[in-house]
Symmetry: none
Subunit: 181 residues, 2 copies
Amino acid sequence: MRQEGGAVQMEKKRNAFEMNISAIKTMIEQDGFVPGDRIPSERELAERLSISRPSVREALRTLAYLGIIETRHGGGSFLLNRDDHTYIQIIAQFLVTGDSKFEDLAGTLRLLEQAAFVQLADASILEVHVDSDAAFRETLIATIDNDLFERIWRQVNAFYQSFGQGELYTRAEREAFLKRS
Amino acid sequence: MRQEGGAVQMEKKRNAFEMNISAIKTMIEQDGFVPGDRIPSERELAERLSISRPSVREALRTLAYLGIIETRHGGGSFLLNRDDHTYIQIIAQFLVTGDSKFEDLAGTLRLLEQAAFVQLADASILEVHVDSDAAFRETLIATIDNDLFERIWRQVNAFYQSFGQGELYTRAEREAFLKRS
DNA sequence: AAGGGGTAATTGGTCTGACCAATGACCGCC
DNA sequence: GGCGGTCATTGGTCAGACCAATTACCCCTT
């Protein structure tokens, strides 16, 4: 006879799996764990939440996959820093796998970089990098100062480079960039 | 700079859990399943992949959490179409505590849409949608005709909307968009 | 007393097997 | 042919076991 949910009243009637994830997250917050801390062991979580260890594991595996926690064999599970969350990598993984066309990759990169350029106030800082396609674009993105945007760009760019197509712009195109400022 | 996990590529030596996820995804692709199809049962997957059912379940739970598949008690597991972004809300659940990220979200959306607008030849098609923030931006993105770019935008936008902040632009801003064409 | 090494306890990783619950197909009955 | 019940299939959950990696601890040596 298994009783309902362990520790916390859930606001909704989601399925048990999501309730377990919420319960674990709630427990982490209530116990005041901060990034870097080790959270209770799987067996202890199972006991405190009145669920089985397999159920705890299913929840923890998902949390680990999302980058919320990190598990070390024999060591325990640790809370990660929120900035280390790989959520955008997860999203990117499913965005970019499969049927994304190579032309879309290059096109998306051009769009992203064009957007960055429009916001660029002073293009002079790019002049010294006009010789290097990589440095030119890297510097351009850095001027945006938007972490999410930069991470998206980095993912798309990493995938683009895995095709080994070399430079995205010719030197003439980079120079044209500067003239348009 | 943390670029370690940068590759979206799959072929790395990851832990068994992520390998199981990849294996299941690969099998789904190779068997030619399309959204709506029922994928093999947990027991069959376990046998075909030579892993135990709990391991299959840990992978399937994560895939279900991400919105890749849907499981029905007694019915089976079904492939979802990728536009279902239910997982975004849940991921956001872990990020709401921080506020810096939200600024990045809105900023990224503005950048993406500005990039789309720069490429827009004829802005007149947007005029009819000037009343609706959502329709205006949706139409804007559709003009780009870049599948990857559109999917990125859609993901970020879904993430943004999970914060429930309402419109991204004021009506005046949308009108200003049109005037700049 | 300090350091090092080896042992035991802890913890995650995986598996087997079992039973329950919901679904859906199948079959017999009307 | 339509309807309803039965039962195999499938996901949901659990208990227990064993392995592997890490960590804590204690004892011995120096």
